[in-house]
Amino acid sequence: MKNNNISNKIIFVSLTFLTFVFYWYGKEIANYFDSKWILKYPKHHAIPFAIHTTSFVKWLINEASFGLFTFKELTRFFAWIIEQPYKLVLIVLSKGILKGQGQDAIQLIGPLSWLSVIGIFFILALYTKDKFLIFLVIFAIVYLAVFDQWQSSMITLSSIIIAVPIGVLLGLLLGVLSYKSKILEKIITPILDLMQTVPVFAYLVPILVMFGFGPVSALIATIIYAMPPMVRTTILALNNIDPQLKESGIMSGCTDRQLMWKVLIPVSKPTLLIGVNQVIMLSLNMVIIASMIGAGGLGYDVLASLRRLDIGGGIESGIAIVVLAIILDRLSQAFANLPTLTKKTQKKFYVRYKKIFFLIFYIISIYTLGYFYSFFKIFPNELMINTSSFWEELVKYININYFDNLENFKIILLTYFMLPIKKFFLGVPWPWFIFIITLIGWYYGKLKLASLCLILSIFIVTTGLWQKAMITLYLCGSSVIIASIIGIPLGIWAGLNNKANKILTAFIDTLQTLPSFVYLIPVVMLFRVGDFTAMIAVILYALAPSVRYTAHGIRNINNQIVEAALISGCSPRQLLFKIKLPLALPEILLGINQTIMLALSMLVITALVGTRDLGQEVYIGLTKADIGRGLVAGLCVAFISIIADRIIKAGSDRLKNKYGIK
């Protein structure tokens, strides 16, 4: 065993050395052998995947037919089905019942007024019996009204109310089915990977063509993006159930269906909830992109205010998205944690439902009052607050007084940290790079992982996008490094200290749901366009998981081990560095893994500040409506993240085995 270790080390060192030799002398070697292809994959060998994809999608949309109906009719039918409940919710929350269409429309019955919506959420929060939550919910909704975000928030809320249940139910169903059938699981896992890692921009155009322009397409894009975690957590939760429980279910005579829905699903509720939470968060992440294809709402407001450089307007709308995310998330968590109602208590009908009766009465009276006093219908303009000028002045102040300091800081970081990484990735010849990746795959996962790495990276080369892929690696790589440097210590702090944990969780939730478009403009103003600005945007977004997983890892260490360490006389410092950190390491690695995934999913956004990576390629595909170009570049992004994901997971598993966790 020891020998093996030493020889591994020798191989590792010599490979690293060789890599640097190739990096330094790559040009000379290429010239010497007169083989430039080592440095740059020849263009004429690139396979025109993009063109093939485009023509396939065009065929699918324009010609494909199942005999009785065409492919497009089928997709339009799905769109219609999803549209119906959406329309209903929209009527209740935003539009009211209308007669006629367009500007001829006359409102017969108005939508729920802001007071009614507060009432509904108040009653919902009341059920949870959590005082803090009640306060939070009311505060949040009043924010929406006071900052003039009401109309847009209700449109966004409507799409979330539709997208989240569909995402959760579909996810649950797929999860249950793949738990039952291993074959299905094998098929579905790579599809889930792609759904999560192909940037949304890449499939926006095909979705538009298939499902029609408007909110429904936006809903479908949201569901595609937000559903995978639900499937994954369902499979995970079901697999982790204590087999004894399952057996006892079978022994007490459950049918298959009863076993699933009455025993297994309820038992795994806590884990499933994490999935629900993820679906909500990811759906809200999509709000901006959804607004680009006709969803309207808060996302549209954010985009429009950026166009006007109205920083404050963007922040207000952006925070409204965060507010929605927080209420929905906390409420759903609280509801799920409620003790399941004990079977029919012997209370009278109206006593049991008195809150609901009260609510109905309340809404009707608000509605009637609304006829006479507009206050009850629409939040009065005079009470609204506008903070635009405050934010503008703040950014202006920083800009005028601290620009030079920021510039110096940026230049130091660029020259000593980012540029060397960029040169390295672009300098190493691609055949060697692929070789190394395959080797790493072999080391952690033998033939299976090695062949995966090999095939995926060869795909990237043959698309002719290698250069851009390397810039992607460099940008994500440097962002992930910095995000980890900031995130892991914060995570440790949150893991050790309860108060810090509460504050940090709120902070992280905000960062993750606040659309990056909101801070892009101020960041550009202070740092100019370029890689550095892109890196800041990526770090802000991708920081969350490294904090969260680290904190989780430290919290979940077996208490007995900690006690044993304390008894044997560890100082707090030793306890942290010798016991807690090593034991939390596998979890921290998973956090870094998630950071990488998020960083890659931010790629397209970085294209908006002028990077030249795969994100830009996807973005060009979108703006030129070039279906193939976007999809192929999107696949390259997906493949990079799949390779990174598999290698890190294998590494984490190995560590877990080493420390005997699990």
Binding site: F213, M292, R307, A625
Partner: protein, 315 residues
């Protein structure tokens, strides 16, 4: 009491509406869907068009959509009219989608797009030779940043906008480096930042837009564009290279789904007749973005003042 009266009048108009739907002779009362993008000028053109169509008795609906992504909707007939497609940025999309006739180009809006290198007027002190392009090399240093020094830094538009700035720098032998912004949001954020600090900046600005009215400055005078300049290397100052001139200035087009002409021929004619000129548009945009009026108010005022003009569109 007043409110109750209002209710009654709404009720009456509802009844009126139910029984008198055919008061206007329009081809169909289905809503015509116009797309809204995220810049003020387009919001104004679209709202004016919408108001005019309403006056003609058409039913109109405004739908927020992405500049390029909307083409998918126009093609399938989910959307009907897009009021601003710029020659300079939308050419490829227009060509691609009008090819099979499902989307049609309804002609120019009458506005011309200008896109060119632009600098704030305070830079004239540091570089008195401007706006003549030949002065660019003398003051390259004044426009440089640490990253580009000694070359000047020119902030170009997103790569998707095209524009051939890299080629232009090469052809005119300018000591400048072209940096591409990713979106126009980023572009104008840099301008705002530099303007606040009175710092050097040279960037791609386009008009009609609020920026030239908000910030005082000028476009650089390059040798004027001709088609030969872009296609024929021997044309112009540099005999061996194309692109040795300024950027083309092209019309802003209106495009529509072919469904518009089939279903609402009258509306199609109105869209076709619509014209505004660039100056007029510049003033309208400034009234919204600089004076803080709402788009609706500005459009309403325009409608009152230009009755004859829009009246002739819907004859």
């Amino acid at each position: 009491m007043k409110i109750i009266k209002k209710r009654i009048s709404i009720l009456l108009s509802l009844i009126f509406f139910l029984f008198a739907q055919n008061i206007y002779a329009v081809e169909s009362k289905d809503p015509i869907k116009l797309t809204l993008h995220d810049w003020t000028g387009q919001l104004i053109t679209t709202n004016i068009m919408a108001e005019v169509l309403k006056e003609a008795g058409y039913n109109v609906e405004l739908i927020p959509a992405d500049y390029i992504a909307q083409f998918a909707g126009l093609q399938t007939g989910d959307l009907h009219v897009a009021m601003e497609m710029w020659e300079t940025t939308g050419r490829d999309a227009i060509d691609e989608y009008t090819a099979d006739g499902r989307v049609v180009n309804v002609g120019s809006t009458g506005m011309d797009a200008i896109e060119e290198w632009w600098y704030p007027s305070y830079m004239k002190e540091k570089c008195p030779g401007l706006p003549n392009w030949e002065a660019l090399n003398d003051c390259a240093e004044a426009f440089s940043t640490l990253e580009t020094s000694p070359k000047g830094r020119y902030l170009g538009g997103p790569v998707t906008w095209g524009g051939y700035d890299d080629e232009r720098v090469e052809a005119l032998d300018l000591d400048w480096e072209v940096i591409h912004a990713g979106t126009d949001g980023a572009l104008f954020a840099e301008l705002e930042s530099a303007y606040q600090r009175k710092a050097p900046i040279m960037l791609w600005v386009y008009a009609p837009h609020w920026a030239p009215s908000k910030y005082s400055g000028e476009f650089v005078d390059f040798p004027p564009y001709t088609t030969e300049c872009y296609t024929d290397p021997s044309w112009g100052i540099n005999k061996n290279s194309a692109y040795d001139c300024g950027k083309p200035r092209g019309p802003i087009w209106k495009v529509a789904s072919s469904m518009l002409k089939d279903k609402w021929p009258g509306a199609y004619d109105a869209v076709e007749a619509f014209t505004l000129d660039s100056n007029e548009m510049g003033n309208l945009v400034a009234a919204v973005d600089l004076d803080g009026n709402t788009v609706d108010a500005v459009v309403a005022e325009w409608m009152v003042n230009n009755k004859d003009r829009w009246g002739s569109w819907i004859k």
